[in-house]
Symmetry: C2
Subunit: 444 residues, 2 copies
């Protein structure tokens, strides 16, 4: 029995990508008189802004994920397809998955961005980034394994390298990672080891721009920097990484070149458009920017194709103030809503004015009790900002999947200063354990 979707000649909307952009588009089409096919490589939507909390052992992957089928369980006009899109045929109005073609009347591309290593792709394994659940688990493995290896290391120089954490990139992810690792080393893990003093860990945040969190106002950015430094993070602004190899990171600040031995180098710098941008450029001639993001029209379509939209991080929308909108969840969310509305208007023979991003503010978490909130009219720092940050994130999380548990989790972690999710798992879960060092000395 194959219960194929009965389309009754309905308008076919195909959405590629179940991130914020794709998800909100589909959500706002759930009651429209269209058929929606949402295609994703993964069976869950990932709340990426909290991925750093998985990487640092506070939350589990499932805490920040919503199974896509569960989200659309009751949206009977929506089907979720697990798979990878290889190609697009704009003439035939088809999306190609392997040897199968899925027809569309309207196509929404929301495949987001990947890390950019600025052409140094061999840095990828040496300094992993943070985009997927697997990335987060790998980062978690590296961070906690470094402490474990340091506990067994008797060579002071090697131990220093094991206890040196370098984070490349001073945007929200870099700042949040640095803050969380500082809290780990200087608070959470302090009593857990017998041979090392985790307070001797060195956490270095390297930022290319002249300040951390350049997207928020300079005064709040300074508060963030001060708070990080108070936590123990060493910040280097105007700094470019020039080389990464053999667990040595080399960087340049002005004319000064420094090389530091570090076993844990984490990447939170540049992004580049996902592969779908190239496919789209080839098939439609649309232009991409230097980061490989698709230049979109004021209504989020692409030039020459009224029925192809690009939403979220993958799009470069520069019609508001000349600068591309930032790659953040609120932009993707508002774009998804806009496109869903526009599709429905069009079906009624109407249209909508150009997309306009309604900036709601910027948030960054630095540590427990420490956050930065910039709403333009209101700026918060410290505990109040932290509470605000929590409320906003909980609000977003429960929109799809009533994850009140995350609230309890946070409350609990807050009270106990605990990081229960610090499992070292995966393929190489105990590789380090095999390269045991001078243990007799420890045990005697």
């Amino acid at each position: 029995m194959v219960a194929t979707l009965d389309n009754h000649g309905k308008h076919q909307v195909v959405i590629i990508g179940g991130g914020f952009g794709g998800l909100y588009t589909a959500k706002h089409l759930a009651k429209a008189n269209v058929n929606v096919t949402l295609i994703d490589k993964r069976n869950f939507h990932l709340f990426q802004p909290l991925l750093y909390q998985v990487a640092t052992g506070t939350l589990s992957p499932a805490d920040i994920s919503s199974p896509l089928r569960a989200v659309f369980s009751k949206s009977k006009n929506t089907q979720v397809l697990l798979g990878e899109v290889n190609d697009i045929d704009p003439k035939a109005q088809q999306v190609i998955m392997g040897d199968k073609a899925i027809p569309y009347d309207t196509l929404i591309i929301a495949t987001g961005v990947n890390h950019s290593y600025f052409g140094k792709d061999n840095w990828k394994d040496l300094a992993p980034g943070l985009k997927t659940v697997e990335d987060a688990i790998e980062m978690r493995r590296r961070i906690f394994s470094a402490f474990e290896a340091a506990e067994k290391e008797t060579d002071p120089e090697k131990r220093r390298a094991l206890l040196t954490f370098v984070i490349v990139g001073g945007g929200p992810t870099g700042v949040e990672l640095a803050g969380a690792i500082a809290e780990l080393a200087y608070k959470t893990l302090k009593e857990d080891f017998r041979n090392i003093n985790t307070s001797e860990a060195k956490i270095l945040l390297l930022q290319g721009a002249d300040r951390v969190l350049p997207h928020i106002s300079p005064d709040l950015s300074e508060v963030a920097a001060k708070s990080l430094e108070k936590l123990g993070v060493i910040i280097q602004t105007n700094t470019r990484v020039t080389n990464i190899e053999n667990n040595i990171v080399t960087f340049k600040q002005g004319d000064e070149v420094t090389a530091i031995a570090s076993k844990t180098i984490l990447w939170a710098a540049g992004v580049q458009g996902s592969a779908m941008a190239k496919v789209l450029a080839e098939r439609t001639g649309v232009q991409c920017d230097r980061s490989g993001r698709v230049i979109v029209e004021p209504d989020l379509t692409i030039k020459g194709y009224q029925n192809i939209f690009v939403v979220g991080d993958l799009g470069n929308f520069s019609h508001q103030d000349g600068n591309p909108l930032p790659g953040v969840a609120p932009v993707a969310k508002q774009q998804g809503e806009y496109v869903a509305k526009l599709i429905q208007k069009r079906l009624q023979g109407q249209t909508l004015p150009a997309f306009h991003y309604n900036h709601v503010g910027s948030l960054a978490m630095i540590g427990q009790n420490l956050a930065i909130v910039d709403l333009g009219f209101l700026k918060l720092t410290g505990f109040l900002a932290w509470v605000f940050w929590l409320i906003v994130h909980i609000y977003f999380l429960i929109e799809f999947d009533t994850k009140l548990l995350v609230v309890f989790q946070w409350a609990w972690n807050y009270i106990t200063r605990n990081r229960r999710s610090r499992l070292i798992t995966g393929r190489e879960a105990y590789v380090e354990a095999k390269t045991v060092n001078n243990i007799t000395q420890i045990a005697n």
Copy 2:
């Protein structure tokens, strides 16, 4: 700075394995005048009885894990070592890890058991078992990927194989897995797919003995079987698997041989002693039983070695009623406590009577509102047993790490019938997605 443990000539206790046996031994030595070194390959203790809930998408790995360092954070006489023991030198009283040796005065081996495929080791990949976090995530991946692949499959025969789940082994793990998969297919996922009816899934539980849960009383075992059948599980007792290949499982009941196509075959049958048993046998001449478990003396030492103990699943203790004690957490826990006490008695020049297992009862979870409790003097089934099961497991969970969250999690899942942790992750997270089937048919 290497802060080596200052032993002041203290008695050195080395424990291999951080499961229930090792953990309880160490816990009960925390205040003793000895130095304890707990060695484990992993950085966390795993609450294995709940692993099937990770495999079926209810809990996250971290929900049932306690970081070993956190457990012993305040036990200043205890150090946790992450690593793998390769050898034991009973003459020199040393444990060998790589090229390092750790001296002991008393050694406790608590490395547990692995799966046994009864010599058919090639079945391992075809029918994975459930012992580690990685096992559970792999099982979860297979279960949920099977539904995803079925959604895309148009060939009715292939679809049937994708929706057929075979569980080999009718002990607690097999029963719990079968019950959980039945609830998934017939309840949780019912509304989530568009092209398949998940209620058409077939869940087969193959049991070698003449009834499921042979360790509990026959009447309760029958209640369990009836409850499973009511959930939709097909039980075949007196059934032996004779072959597994190409997603076809062949089994024999009496003279009747059946072959069934199934894409998801799960192994919950035999166990065999971990590698350490062989090492121990070679080095000390101790005897092992047919399952490779170490035959222990009445005081849990091994023959000829008063200072080497084997606790938990790895030991075969048959001094109580002639039969080996079952490989369950309460046995390991009581043995750990006993050994910790005995060590302290010995340091005072005293000793203890032989170990005696105090049977507290048997529990098995079948589904929501459905469990089996056999306390000997009290037998419970249905909802009451389910509540009892919850209370007992919560009690054990919070003993190390106040995981009240798991309670909320369960309560929440119970109310919402949700399985939020059904992420398909890992290396081959979306391999299935690439073998896309006739999608045009679906989308049109």
